[in-house]
């Protein structure tokens, strides 16, 4: 294997993104002692009302991006909390109507674990399996609906494989049955157009840090015409109509608002540029022996390329990718590794799920980084394939 000068390349934008300096600049005034530091609930004085106005502006920026109303935004600490609040909040608030929730095997742990927790409270969950390309069949979903189903939760695009689900069709189905639809849009906010009205989405989880905004801030959109409120997860204040009490972090909310405004302005151009980068990367990798693309070839977000390599050991593959900040199909590298449940749900073997790499590209990714990443990856595959005992034993017998 070639000895390389280590050069770090960040291709893990699906995990988090660097903060856009423009957004940081917007946040800074609210972190100092001059303006906007007041408690946004203390509107009886200018310090508080300044903060409150900044939050209203941010709500407008966020709601504009998804075609919602400002008052339909509930600020949270991130998408994990938004997912918890959406699912547990609806379940508790609407339990008199039914106790079944339908979700998919592809969801983020914050959805799956919340559903599992509700199962301990006598709710039932139905998990829809995707096809081998990671798509959820709308007819499978329709068949799973029961009279006691109160909520369907489907992610817009999967965080590991990037496959985009048919949210509009699912929305139409749910609306026709008067069942609420929750969508985890963490990977698509600012990357794909989202219109909660047109797509008939009732609850939507988003955050800022996947779109070059600050960490620690997210939001839950709640369709005011379809659901008046959800049961809170926390208690102790009347902020946000009691659904999410606690003093609002003005600087982070301002950052999230600006994140959505910037994302809106660059979305189209960035989607096209990043798609080209992803295609460039796949073009350089697709001829490697044993390589397989995970997820639908075209119905995917611009930023995520997930590949597996047959016959390679996952931990060594990750280790050999010197200087590449990428993610793998395995959460850790201990002897008790569990292969990715997302890839397993697509029918991938343990070996393929473990020897998988997710490249996720973003706003600051450039051609040179893609070329270098492809070279490092190709060298690693070539090295580990040459090291494989299978070929060796065949040759020596």
């Amino acid at each position: 294997m070639k000895k390389r000068k280590i050069k770090s390349i960040y291709l893990d934008y699906a995990a988090t993104t660097p903060l856009d300096p423009l957004i940081l600049e917007e946040m800074l005034p609210f972190m100092g002692n001059r303006e906007g530091f007041g408690n946004p609930s203390s509107v009886t004085h200018s310090f508080g009302s300044e903060a409150s106005q900044a939050i209203e502006r941010a709500a407008l920026q966020v709601s504009k991006l998804i075609n919602a109303k400002e008052e339909e935004i509930v600020w949270t600490s991130g998408a994990t909390e938004a997912n918890n609040l959406a699912i547990a909040g609806v379940a508790q608030f609407r339990q008199s109507r039914g106790r079944n929730i339908i979700t998919t095997a592809l969801e983020h742990k914050s959805v799956l674990s919340t559903c599992a927790s509700l199962e301990n409270q006598e709710f039932s969950t139905t998990y829809i399996k995707p096809n081998s390309q990671g798509l959820i069949s709308v007819s499978d979903l329709e068949s799973a609906l029961r009279p006691e189903t109160i909520l369907v939760s489907v992610m817009h695009a999967n965080n590991e494989i990037g496959v985009i689900q048919k949210i509009s069709e699912i929305g139409t189905l749910c609306r026709s049955k008067d069942i609420l639809l929750h969508v985890d849009a963490v990977q698509t906010i600012g990357r794909l157009p989202i219109d909660v009205q047109e797509q008939k989405i009732d609850l939507l989880s988003i955050n800022a840090h996947k779109a070059c905004g600050p960490k620690g801030i997210g939001a839950l959109y709640l369709n005011a015409e379809r659901i008046s409120r959800v049961e809170p997860l926390l208690y102790g204040g009347s902020q946000q109509r009691g659904m999410r009490p606690g003093t609002l972090p003005t600087h982070q909310i301002v950052g999230m608002g600006k994140t959505m405004e910037v994302a809106d302005s660059v979305m189209e151009e960035e989607a096209s540029r990043v798609t080209n980068l992803r295609k460039r990367l796949w073009g350089k990798l697709e001829e490697l022996p044993g390589i397989q693309l995970n997820g639908h070839p075209s119905r995917r977000i611009s930023s995520i390329l997930n590949v597996s390599v047959a016959g390679l050991e996952g931990e060594s593959l990750r280790y050999a990718l010197i200087g590449l900040a990428v993610a793998s199909g395995s959460a850790c590298n201990s002897a008790t590794d569990e292969p990715s449940y997302v890839l397993k749900s697509l029918g991938r073997s343990d070996q393929l799920a473990e020897a998988s790499i997710r490249f996720s590209l973003g706003r600051y990714t450039v051609n040179e980084e893609i070329d270098h990443a492809a070279e490092v990856f190709s060298d690693a595959v070539e090295y580990l394939q040459a090291l494989s005992p299978s070929n060796y034993l065949e040759a020596s017998i």
């Binding site: 016959g311 002897a335 005992p389 299978s390 034993l393």
Partner: protein
């Protein structure tokens, strides 16, 4: 996330020896995701003149394989019985939970020893 020390890094990236000797040893455990094949040749004084390995294994075990084949060169066959496995585990900082994988390498060494005994009739 497993940490790897510098020794693992140096040994993992050693060039692969393009060599197949007359004696072989192998061991495999699918449930531990580890497969190792060793190959060796002996000179007229019954010392190892060349060794090579192939492995489907984690970086720690690949490094351990590479260290072994480097250290056994020019050693008598008996050296296979004298490998200090505790030293190897400590040198490479192999986590306790991976001890089972190291035993697969040990099995491959035992298999190589048996092959040499059987085919070269060395006692």
């Amino acid at each position: 996330m497993t940490n790897y020390n510098d020794v693992v890094s140096q040994l993992f990236f050693l060039p692969i020896k393009d060599f197949t000797g007359e004696y072989r040893g192998q061991a495999c455990r699918d449930d531990l995701g580890t497969k190792i094949a060793l190959s060796a040749s002996l000179n007229s004084r019954n010392k190892f003149c060349q060794l090579s390995c192939r492995a489907f294994a984690c970086p720690h075990i690949i490094a351990a394989c590479n260290w072994l084949i480097e250290s056994l060169e020019d050693q008598p066959v008996k050296a296979l019985d004298d490998i200090d496995w505790n030293y190897l585990q400590e040198m490479l900082d192999i986590p306790t939970e991976k001890a089972g994988k190291l035993l697969i390498l040990k099995d491959a060494i035992i298999d190589l020893r048996s092959d040499i005994r059987y085919r070269a009739n060395l006692r």
